[in-house]
Amino acid sequence: MLIQMKKATLYALKEDRDSILLALQRDGNVMLIPSGDEAALPGAESVITEAEKTNGAIKFMDMHVGKRSFLASRTPVAYKHFLQDTPEAVDLAEQVAVLEEKIGSLRNEALTMRAQADALKPWQGLDIPLEKLAPTTFTNYFAGYLPELEKDEFLEEISSLTAETIVLEEAPEGRAIVVFAHKIASAEVKHFLKAHDFTDVVFPKRVGLAKAIAVDLTEAAKMKESLADNLEDEGIKIASRKEELHLYYDQLVAKQDRMALSGEETQKTFFIQGWVRADKTEMVKKAIGDTTSAFDLNFTEPEEGEIPPTVMENGKLSRPYEFVTELYSRPKIGSLDPNFMMAPFHFIFFGMMLSDAGYGLILTILLYLVLKLFNPRDSAGKLITVIFFGGISTVLWGILFGGWFGLEWHPLLFAPMKEPLKMLALCFGLGALHLVTGMCMKMYLLIKRGQVWSAIFDELSWLVMFAGLFFMVLLPGEVGKYIALVGAGTIILTGGRANKNILTKFLGGLLSLYNISGYVSDLLSYSRLFALGLATGVIAMVINTIAQMLWESGTVGIVVAIFVLIGGHIFNILINVLGSFVHTSRLQYIEFFSKFYEAGGKAFVPLAIRTKYVDVTK
């Protein structure tokens, strides 16, 4: 069901602000509303920077000692301890940041040096020290690269000039050459060089032969690299203190959340507003009352035009299915929380699609262990619980259909592969139940809003017609036909009531009867329950057959067969769990929700302690 929300307005002294915000964050029941300019509290900027730095430090450590796994359990930290400053962690974050920067710059320098050494490679044959390459009283020099194809022609052309050319090795840029020209020929040489796409080279500012410089540079680069390597080792040592940074990061994020909104303020007082669940107002009052007595707190109904966030509350069994609903969209405030009706169908359909008792058992046991050992929270926890429930449902359907790892064993109901028509009938039957439930929910919503006639004309009339069609098939005699006609008549007479003209009213009614095609296609969509179950069963059968063929081929075959069996069935479980979840959810979104669901609610994100690495205990 959807929870009523109230708007809290708080006036208090600025000197109490920190303690009040702390209390609210610990309580975790108020979602602050941004007011006016949405400015953060002074100092928030530096907290964000520090948090980013710490995050960078954690990433650096992750690189050195490996990441924590997605399901890793969190370290419990007492709330009192969580509030304490951790100066060591501040230092540590700084230390890591400095270390990372040092390593980065060392590696960069080494890279530059290696690049320079590489660039000198074609010049290694030059027996003139680089610093001596300079114009003299009578000569000019040109050093650079000439495209290989132009080389011969160029040499030919300048052979008559007063110039000497040293041709060196070839580089990606072209042939390395040095031309010495007498000043009288300099201009001409320059002209020829230009005509042949010559590019000048820039030598590093160093003294000595190119060959020696390249060796020096490489040595220096190696030095820098080994320095960086040493620092990396230091990083590995430091990374053992990662836990400290985890706590520090979570503390910073909590602080950042507290400082995110400043509200309005005067010289001495401040004022903030927030959304609170109507049943949690006393808790909020108590949380603030425990810190100070100088405050004024009011709870009011949402005003016209204000949209409070949507909070769903469900029993233990249907709560995980909120994940499925949220994946679509939250319900609009004032509409229906679909979870309690959607959950049983999701449960049933998931199991039908996977429909193998063996797979169901594996899934159930594995996910039970995951839930117990790692205690995943929030959406990950909800998703895993949904699939865990799905696993139980899979076991039940597997027993009913007699599917065990692709083998048939005493079906309680019938084997779908052998009796596809019975199976299709079952799918459509469950589908019809699903659709009718959706229509009933719409009727409930309409009646709750006082639109009783809409409920009768738009929903009940269809239900009557469907009931009639159903009876026509099942009951002898004409009863069904008349019931169906009553339903259809109501639809034709009332479907166009929104139109003004009597003729368009009638036509509108006839047209709305055409909606039956929509219902038919909705119903046919449930055939996927069978098809996906078929996919699981037949792929399992393929795996078993291949394994059996291998098994009969000798000792090696038996070993391979075991691998095929294990690997194949794991693959089949993975691909079909994905398929079952996606298609079950689709049946909810497209077929079920389209009947009554009103989406578009906002998320309720209260000011609370949201940790990534540690678990804050009371």
Binding site: L524, A535, I575, L578, V582, S585
Partner: protein, 158 residues
Amino acid sequence: MLTLGTALAFAGAAIAASFAGVGSAIGVGIAGQAGSGVISEDPDKFGNVLVLQALPGTQGIYGLLIAFIIVLNIGVIDGNIKDLTTYQGMALLFASLPIAIGGLMSGIYQGKVAAASIYLCAKRPEETGKGIILTAMVETYAVLALLISFIMVNGVKL
């Protein structure tokens, strides 16, 4: 000596497995290209991207499934290949067409939607679930094709 009917049944199995497989291969390929681009920016999205890339892969499995049932029914697996009449063989060949054509086309288009959803996941990772649902919408038609192919194959009494 194989009969023409048996050969036609082989053709049906071959068409089902290969056409639907090609559809999936193209679809998974398109999605994979988009995926590597996204992963190059943010390797942490690998999990989400992989799920999206895997979605167009089911058509190939459906095709294999129909091919397998045909092959199983005509006795290739246990080594006693049955002699089918020409009409039986043709019926099996026709029965394989829905999943062959449906799988081929839906695989390609599902791959395109998957690629678009991978970009969605790059920009707004929290909405990946919606991308998965959009991608699965295309698969509906492969599922329907699979179903009708199965019913038809099942209906051919040998």
